[in-house]
């Protein structure tokens, strides 16, 4: 959820706060001022929203108002699924509230093995390793498999957890322009002979909701003998014939060496994972520090995840409805005259491009007052320093709600004079 922070995914040079300051916090002064100015203008704090009550996967009471949620990653609406909740309650009763231990010591319960088995079946892969978050899955896998002298070639718009995985490791890091096949190939071609190579891609890029041309990119990566890691955080459960993601949709999942995913989106709880067919994959459990040196997920979390993942295996109807919602919202917003991140809907994320931060923040607030929550994403966390209102749909949004959402966008857009 890096867009909610005021820091970019990519590492940036820090502003120099002057040398005579002894307060280590001085370096944050420009950001503190920017935030204060925004709040002093009377705006509701876009990054301080509190949900007082959650009524369903798609509605909550925020700041005293009943609000339609259009900015969660609860794509498949699994958070209130009765079977999922039941599984969690049973695990709480039977196994307690937490494991208080690392996966490699006392923190592996049957539930952890069970959710890994569910993942192997979901992806039809040999190995699955569950981390405490998706962030840690990227951090751990990337920093561990790419070592000194190896090269990581990655898209410049990669998620913060990918960048941080690069920063934690010792490999040479080489970014290329977003989704630019040619730029990627040039970099792979120039890597010194004999060096190990890891190409890191995402299925869906969460800022604009656009997908990667994985088929072409993975073919190029393989031509240069690189291993391929694809983060499918935003596609699990509804893209691809079995919901395995964009690589499956484009018919290239067999060529992906490592799929990274999360339980915090379609699965509807918290946790992260890597699935792989690599014959030596299991050694990761001993050498991957963000796996070893942290406590494992609570039994209730892995029980809800396993139940949810199994239900996602045949959620065909929900998938169809989610796509219909995405298409309807995309077409509706386009029809109203908003500028969108993609010409066609490519995922369940639809990004509405705002002319500037001021009007973006005003529009965000106007929508909230109408009773609609979307994600405000702003520079420097966004590609090309755009201000975006990011909408993410849920399979539980009704057709009627999508209609209401469009009405709210129309009213707010006119009030703020964007359309």
């Amino acid at each position: 959820m890096s867009e909610s922070a005021a820091t970019p995914d990519r590492p940036q040079p820090m502003a120099d706060a002057g040398h005579n300051s002894q307060d280590l916090f001085s370096k944050f002064d420009p950001l503190i001022k920017q935030r204060k100015d925004l709040l002093d203008s009377g705006l509701e704090d876009p990054f301080g929203l509190v949900m007082e009550r959650v009524l369903s996967p798609v509605t909550a009471v925020c700041n005293g108002r009943e609000t339609i949620l259009l900015g969660t990653y609860n794509y498949m609406g699994m958070t209130f699924d009765p079977e999922v909740i039941e599984a969690g309650k049973n695990a709480l009763d039977d196994f307690g509230s937490g494991t208080t231990g690392s996966r490699v010591l006392n923190g592996t319960y049957v539930g952890h093995k069970e959710v890994e088995k569910a993942l192997c079946e979901f992806y039809a892969m040999d190995h699955a390793m569950v981390f405490s978050t998706g962030y840690q899955a990227n951090l751990g896998i990337i920093s561990t498999i790419a070592g000194k002298g190896d090269y990581i070639v990655l898209d410049i718009d990669s998620h913060a957890s990918i960048w941080d995985g690069c920063a934690l490791g010792n490999a040479e890091v080489v970014p290329f322009k977003h989704n630019d096949l040619d730029a990627m190939e040039k970099r792979l071609r120039r890597i010194p002979e004999g060096a190990g190579k890891l190409v890191v891609l995402e299925g869906v890029y969460s800022m604009l909701g656009d997908i990667a041309p994985l088929k072409e990119m993975i073919a190029v990566a393989k031509k240069y003998d690189a291993m391929v890691l694809v983060d499918e955080a935003h596609s699990m459960g509804f893209i691809g014939p079995n919901g395995r993601g964009v690589a499956e949709e484009q018919g290239v999942l067999d060529d992906v060496d490592f799929v990274i995913g999360t339980f915090s989106k379609s699965v509807g709880t918290v946790g992260g994972f890597c699935v792989s067919n690599h014959p030596k994959f299991e050694i990761m459990r001993l050498v991957c520090r963000p796996y070893v040196f942290t406590a494992s997920l609570p039994p209730s979390v892995v029980a809800t995840a396993a139940t949810s993942i199994r239900k996602l295996m045949d959620a065909g109807d929900k998938r169809t409805h989610l796509w219909e919602n995405s298409k309807r919202l995309h077409a509706g917003l386009k029809g109203l005259g908003f500028q969108l991140g993609t010409d066609e809907p490519q995922s369940a994320i639809i990004a509405v491009i705002m002319p500037d931060l001021e009007r973006g923040a005003a529009m965000w607030e106007a929508l909230l007052k109408e009773g609609l929550y979307v994600n405000l994403a702003r520079p420097p966390a966004t590609p090309a320093n755009m201000t975006l209102l990011r909408c993410s749909l849920c399979a539980e949004h009704s057709e009627e709600q999508v209609g209401q959402i469009l009405t709210m966008f129309e009213a707010a857009g006119k009030a703020v004079e964007i359309i």
């Binding site: 090269y151 410049i156 040479e172 890091v173 970014p175 322009k177 970099r187 120039r190 420097p380 090309a384």
Partner: protein, 80 residues
Amino acid sequence: MDRDDTKARIDTLIEPFNKKGVGIGEDTTFAGDLEWDSLTVMDFVAAIEDEFDIIISMNQQAEIETYGQLIDAVTKLRGA
């Protein structure tokens, strides 16, 4: 490889990126004097990489603060 030749070619490459028209010398810094953001850095690095058919990883870029250091680094990479 010849440092003067490298410098001459980078002098040309940097022009379209120097939107503020800052006078560029060996001691000019990218973050401080030119105030480039990371996207501009990426595009500029890509232009240099294409011109000389080299790769400058982010790890190497982290060591380069001034224009002079960039010319040195590229000269060295061309010889490698």
